[in-house]
Symmetry: C2
Subunit: 240 residues, 2 copies
């Protein structure tokens, strides 16, 4: 019986989280676009799980802003405006739908607003721990340059270190968006931009932060993201 359920549902080890992931993907990719969302009884039957599992998955989706549930009316999908776009799960699901340059562009508009400010904040008020984190991130980028570390991972580590270093937890919240944006844009930037230029630009950010020069840190970070945005614009232009 249990084996049967597991086989028919195709959800992972943890049924609740498996169903959460499946429903999340389906909602975000528009699988319920023109029809009403299933009732909890229908979901239970369709996926071969108990009502508890269904309800807990729905509750988590509700907590992330994707659903609402009311007696008699049923469960329904919320407008995109109320989705929690900074949630790691929601971001992941968002990328499962067709790759869109528009989404990548929106990511980077956000980065252009956040990261220069975060770099300035880090330069102005990072403590020793934050500075060490940034140094470690940059060291990884240098190691990657020498082929001793993964380029993408090192890049992400450096950018996240800057988000954290300023000590403002709200800036640290952007870790998932930034990591996602970097992972996504690597498809475009990979092999197009020379890695040396990239390292130099990142080195400028590091130097400015270490010199406690907020203005220079901001400008250097702005330059990095500006380059990425130019690349995206050129790519979308070329694709047309």
């Amino acid at each position: 019986m249990t084996d049967n359920d597991d086989a028919s549902s195709g959800l992972g080890r943890n049924l609740t989280y498996g169903l959460l992931d499946l429903l999340g993907r389906q909602i975000v990719t528009g699988a319920f676009e023109n029809r009403t969302f299933p009732t909890e009884a229908e979901l239970s039957i369709q996926h071969g799980v108990s009502r508890s599992v269904t309800r807990e998955a729905v509750k988590m989706l509700t907590a992330k802003g994707l659903l609402t549930a009311r007696p008699r009316q049923g469960t329904s999908i919320q407008p995109v405006a109320s989705w929690n776009l900074f949630d790691a799960d929601v971001l992941r699901w968002l990328l499962e739908r067709k790759f869109s340059v528009e989404l990548l562009s929106q990511f980077n508009q956000l980065r252009a607003a956040i990261e220069p400010a975060a770099a300035a904040l880090a330069a102005g008020s990072a403590d020793d721990k934050g500075r060490a984190l940034i140094e470690a991130g940059f060291a990884r980028m240098e190691a990657a340059e020498r082929g001793e570390d993964d380029v993408l991972d090192a890049d992400i580590a450096f950018h996240l270190a800057i988000l954290r270093a300023g000590g403002n937890p709200f800036f640290a919240q952007f870790r998932d968006v930034v990591a996602t944006a970097l992972r996504t844009s690597i498809r475009l930037t990979n092999r197009i931009v020379g890695r040396t230029a990239d390292l130099a630009a990142h080195g400028a950010v590091r130097d400015a932060i270490m010199a406690r020069d907020p203005r220079a840190a901001q400008d250097a970070m702005r330059a990095i993201i500006g380059d990425v945005m130019d690349l995206i614009a050129r790519h979308s232009h070329a694709a047309q």
Copy 2:
């Protein structure tokens, strides 16, 4: 029995959401600082609700990044870094703890990064609908000036309109933070800053957006938030 439960628990009409709110507040305000988080059985007994209610509340808190649950290990509170700080519930709970100038300052550091960029984006690429939204928001501010609308509500409406108008859903996500920041800082700014100056500054933002001048819109918005940050700095200085 049911009445007894309701009376003893003090949760609202909806037990699950009531418990969610109660636990969320307790977690954020540090009520479980030095002790382990209760097991689901303990929570059920303490609050006089069934395990389903407890589990669903815990699952929602998990979805918001506040908890994790594993068999045998139990449920435990996650580090603040993994909390979903842009979630409306989490923000609300955050404000329940002692009022802190530091938090208000962090809010506005974020606003300083986001809102000028959002204003520039709105100036550059808002469609007719977005522009109409901004006009409506500004009209409310003018009405408030004449005593025909609530000052705070109008202010919030104007700022939210700008976040939305650019068409980037990630900027629109900041509605709750911005609304919360405005509601919080009104305690400080109220009666200190003359409302006329405020209206003029907001008018400059509106004019720049309508003139499709991103640079001017950005600068005008920066000025507004800069004023607020100065006020906060002065207040925290005076308080010392």
